[in-house]
Symmetry: C2
Subunit: 197 residues, 2 copies
């Protein structure tokens, strides 16, 4: 339809998560219309990310430095490691501004269906870190899905020989949640984990 | 939250039409994960579009050549010009594979609210083209919105002195449309414009 190079760009953008050919066309039109204010800054930002971002060899975070700024931040508590499935989960934890320890990004969860076993995840490096003397607590912040909880159980077993306490995120009613709209599982868990008022 | 250059990229992508911070984060994560297969091809495609795409001085189409490949295609009928609001409409017409003439992209519609007058649109160049001897028909393919129809009426008036027939797209029931779900305006127009069976 359109010119070849535009079609190629639409084809690539349509592959991004949540987008399709129609939204990609709208985006490309906007990019071409705002060449100086959108297209060119976007090229520069993509290039910067492509050339400067690397994976932290300690925790698996993505950063311009290796070790990453979380691992080297001396104001953060090195005795607590929060284990997350994915970088998106690390970002979500950081947005909450509540956690001041270090992270460990697994890079996924154990999944029989997707054929993901312990060797595909960064579990070995977690065990090495957990064995270090300074580490006293491992927080398992995997998702509250079946795969996430399976992975958490597996890691707990592997950590049994280490002298660390293993905790996981509380499950219960989300802030602002109304009982009437909650699923039975969440309500049941919240009841079973009730705490003194 | 994330590293500075990643945050900057998220900020830019969140400005694209239909996207926000959350979808931009998902996209950036995917881009970083698939650096060779997605991020780098996307940079190259954006650069190609940025450097090669230019506006056709005849019709306003975007193309790697000026005049564009539609204006220079000798297999297309130079006697019919289809006037569209926007490049997206030109692409939509091309996808229908039904039009084999030339185009004229207005670059918007007359709009009192948005302060768009005739001088902001490519109407002058259309009048010049319509005055050429080879042109026999101008098809007004503006949207069936109030602004689109206002613009079509304005152009019709300006074209009165030219020896061209001015037509517009038929309005009626869309293909596959069910009467029960149509709005009253469309049904009324379809009834008023009924044709012998």
């Amino acid at each position: 339809m359109a010119e070849q190079s535009i079609d190629e760009l639409i084809r690539i953008i349509a592959k991004l998560p949540g987008l399709g050919p129609r939204s990609a066309r709208r985006i490309v039109l906007q990019l071409i219309r705002k060449r100086e204010t959108l297209l060119q800054p976007m090229i520069r930002a993509l290039q910067t990310v492509d050339t400067s971002i690397t994976t932290c060899h300690i925790c698996g975070n993505l950063d311009s430095a290796d070790p990453c700024h979380v691992c080297t931040d001396t104001r953060r508590d090195p005795s607590v490691i929060c284990v997350v499935e994915d970088l998106a989960d690390l970002w979500a934890m950081e947005r909450s501004h509540m956690f001041r320890g270090r992270y460990h990004v697994l890079g996924g969860v154990l999944s029989a269906i997707d054929g993901v076993g312990p060797d595909q995840l960064n579990i070995g490096s977690l065990l090495t870190r957990a064995a270090a003397e300074e580490v006293s607590e491992i927080i398992l912040a995997t998702n509250a899905t079946v795969d996430g909880q399976t992975t958490a159980h597996y890691i707990t077993e592997r950590l049994q020989d280490c002298q660390v306490s293993v905790t996981r995120l509380a499950q219960g009613i989300p802030v602002g949640g109304e009982l009437d709209y909650l699923d039975d599982g969440t309500l049941g868990t919240a009841l079973a984990s009730r705490r003194p008022f």
